[in-house]
Amino acid sequence: MINHVQGELPLAVVEGSPLTQLPEDLYIPPDALEIILDAFEGPLDLLLYLIRRQNLDIIQINVAEITRQYMGYIALLESMRFELAAEYLVMAAMLAEIKSRALLPRPVGADEDEDHDPRAELIRRLLEYEKVKMSAEAIDEMPRVDRDFHVAEAGQPEIDERTAPPQVDLSELVLAFAELLARARLSSAHQIEWEPLSTRQRMSEILMKLKETAELTLSDLFAPDEGRAGVVVSFLAILELVREGLCALIQAAPGSQIYIRRPTDA
């Protein structure tokens, strides 16, 4: 039995009253309050933990008792302002239902609908989940390539490459990107405005040139045959490169030649 008494600081506030002492039956692993939610893979996992902690067989669970403990956890988590996944609350409701059913007298003579006995259903689900949990642990313990064993390889001799490399259709590429965009939009993590492709291509070209030559002049980058549009694209590309810190503009004196350099050489 663990009684953590924490001076004046309440552990939590449950239904308006401060909680300075953990409920006796509510064992919280030391320092683990914050990771409770991370530690459990869902309500079934939490229930399994509560049952196994008492060395109880799943079949023999005392729903009333387990419900009380489960609610205790939920109340504590909520008081800690954890955002509870809906699944936990659904389970709480289900437990409450089972508990209330157990309290009600059974209708005499009524053929109990075994299929809809929520307690049997809960037990079935717990057993099923425990199996999955155990299999997951077993899989993790199985020898795995590159972790527990390694494949033996030797260098290949020079082989005539007969194989044509995979062909990619332009439409496949576009589709891959469209899907990527759609996915990124769903997660909405990425709402960055991107420069038009012409500018981005020019950015790549300038960087490529800078790889060969440490220093370029503006006129190196403006091709007369591209006309005004070309100049604008080059200009935008340079500005974008400077903004992203990918190149630097150098001018020795006002009115003198402007040079574009790699940022490290600048």
């Binding site: 079934l44 079949i59 057993l127 989940y129 077993a138 527990d148 064993f149």
Partner: protein, 189 residues
């Protein structure tokens, strides 16, 4: 150039191969002509396996075929080579993998029903990119959800010949709870 016999040709090819080699591929080594029979190949393979017994490298058979594998005893030495620990998978990922391995073909909804929580898309993609699971079809129910199954690569990476070699999930649970449940059900009838 030295001339090699069947056993030595297989040995070299197995070391050159990036993945396990099937009997079919071994036949293919010899082009259209004078390919050895499966019997000859198996004989050479078992002779080769014997040769490599108690060596630092051994010949083993997995689902995808035959491959040379470095002895487990060397894993601690090899672990010293990389600073980064080999990828650890979260419990959620492992449970999803377990569900797919043991219940395949299975839909995401079915996995979620058993686990009692939503399965993150990220988890499915991690397992797909690792090459361990793949979509094998769609269930003919509204929404046509994808059916997931494990791949040959999954078996290869765990050194298994078939799914049957997976530990028996029923055996994993210490207490004979399922038996009890059966009894309970029977007695309540």
């Amino acid at each position: 150039m030295p001339e090699f016999d069947l056993k030595r040709i297989l040995e070299g090819a197995l070391f050159a191969s990036r993945g396990p080699m099937t009997i079919y591929q071994m036949k293919k080594l010899f082009g259209d002509q004078k390919a050895p029979t499966e019997g000859m190949l198996r004989e050479a393979l078992s002779s080769l396996a014997e040769e490599y017994q108690n060596r630092s490298v051994s010949l083993i058979e997995v689902a995808g075929g035959f491959r040379f594998q470095v002895s487990d005893a060397l894993a601690p030495y090899l672990a010293n080579l990389t600073d980064e620990k080999p990828g650890k998978y979260s419990r959620a990922t492992l449970e999803t993998l377990a569900m797919i391995a043991y219940r395949q073909p299975v839909t995401r909804g079915e996995i979620e029903a058993v686990r009692g929580v939503a399965v993150n898309t990220q988890i499915i993609r991690t397992l797909e990119e690792r090459g361990w699971i793949t979509v094998v079809g769609h269930k003919e129910v509204p929404g046509r959800p994808a059916l997931f199954a494990t791949t040959t690569e999954f078996l290869n990476d765990f050194g298994l010949k078939s799914l049957e070699q997976l530990p028996n999930a029923e055996d994993l649970i210490a207490t004979p709870t399922t038996d009890l449940l059966d009894q309970m059900e029977q007695s309540s009838e």
